[in-house]
Amino acid sequence: MRKIGVIYSGNESHYRTFHEPKFNQYITKLIYHPDFLETDIEDLDVLIVPSQLNYKLLLASETKIHAFAEKGGIIVAFGPQPWNWLPAQKWEERPTNFWWWLDKEASSGLVLQNPTHPLFNDYLTLAECTWHQHGVFWPPEHSDILISTEDGGAVMYVDSQSSEGTWIITTLDPDFHFGSYFMPATERFFEGFFPYLAYGTI
């Protein structure tokens, strides 16, 4: 099993999500964000950078996170990113439609761009990645877009060329929604995503 570390903000949703036993059992190190710079992360294979982190601490963490990627680490970033810290980051914030499924002929607007990717083989379906988004990314050309909006904006993409490691970047924020007892799909997302990070082909 890969060794997974998670940055923990001390907020209520992160507390619930990352202490939930079925997810916590995949976490080798839960790193309180104010302690991140002093914490040894060299033994980790995967570092999860959740959504809604304090921006000052996040920007102070940027160099260490990128250094982890340069040593071949796998980095997962969740949620909207109004601050630039991802490789070649191009984030576009969009209004959130919390109610899309109430529309006639409802469509989430999400498209599975790479259905043969290992993540969608026994781990996740598009339905388990579907609730709402807070924006999209316009990633570098070399990226592998896994899920997009209908106009091609990336909701989840993998960038394995900007560094020696692998960046799995998604505008989805299941850590916030599961942690705040909201959106049941987010629980199913983690039930697939943690095992994928632990054992899947990345």
Partner: protein, 211 residues
């Protein structure tokens, strides 16, 4: 709205806080500081401390003596969120509401509530037909607490505690009460009624202190 008291709000510095992305506090009544600056902040001139969800509760737990000392001086602490560390006197940990049906999300003002007066259960419970935006759980209210809002099963969504400390504690198991405005619903009443309640509460605590 102008107010006659001093309010300090802690900012968790998270993505949803940018431009009021998730929920906008339309006013500028509160002075806002970054959460980690709270440790150094002088609270002498502050009457009301507003602590929103997304706050780092591990940090606040380490600040519990400062919060208790503030309340001991007959001040007000408002906490909106899900508590999981006991940094707030009298307040037990958050419990999620047991949901078997969307009606379990319905919240009801009690007779004691002036903050939620005229606010309908439907407007609080639903947003464009989706239930559960307002509150998804509750905290244990201490004995003698004044309960303002409950679920149908009586669990307190919002309560006021004037007994655990010399000051007043308001706990709301949801989002910032100052953020309810401009939706053309009866929930728009919450913000002005909450500010008026705070004003009266500050006054009452000051008068009580002068006696």
């Amino acid at each position: 709205m102008s107010i006659s008291f001093s309010m300090l709000k802690l900012d968790p510095g998270h993505a949803f806080g940018v431009n009021g992305r998730m929920q906008k506090d339309t006013g500028d009544e509160a002075r806002i500081i970054e959460q980690y600056d709270f440790a150094q902040e002088d609270l002498n001139e502050v009457d009301v401390l507003i602590i929103p969800n997304f706050i780092d509760q591990e940090f606040l737990y380490r600040q519990q003596e400062k919060i208790a000392a503030f309340l001991a001086k007959k001040k007000i602490v408002v906490y909106c969120g899900h508590l999981f560390r006991e940094w707030l006197p009298g307040c037990g940990p958050f419990m999620p509401q047991l949901i078997r049906n969307y009606k379990d999300y319905e919240v009801f003002p009690t007779e004691q509530s002036v903050i939620f007066e005229g606010v309908t259960t439907a407007d609080m419970t639903f947003k464009k037909g989706v239930a559960g935006f307002f509150a998804r759980g509750y905290h244990h209210a201490p004995a003698h607490a004044e309960v303002l809002l409950t679920f149908a099963n009586g669990k307190p969504v919002t309560y006021v505690d004037r007994c655990s400390t010399n000051g007043t504690i308001l706990v709301h198991a949801g989002r910032d009460l100052l953020g309810y405005a401009d939706e053309n619903k009866s929930t728009d009443l919450i913000r002005p009624q909450f500010l008026a309640w705070l004003e009266a509460e500050v006054q009452a605590l000051k008068e009580d202190g002068e006696q």
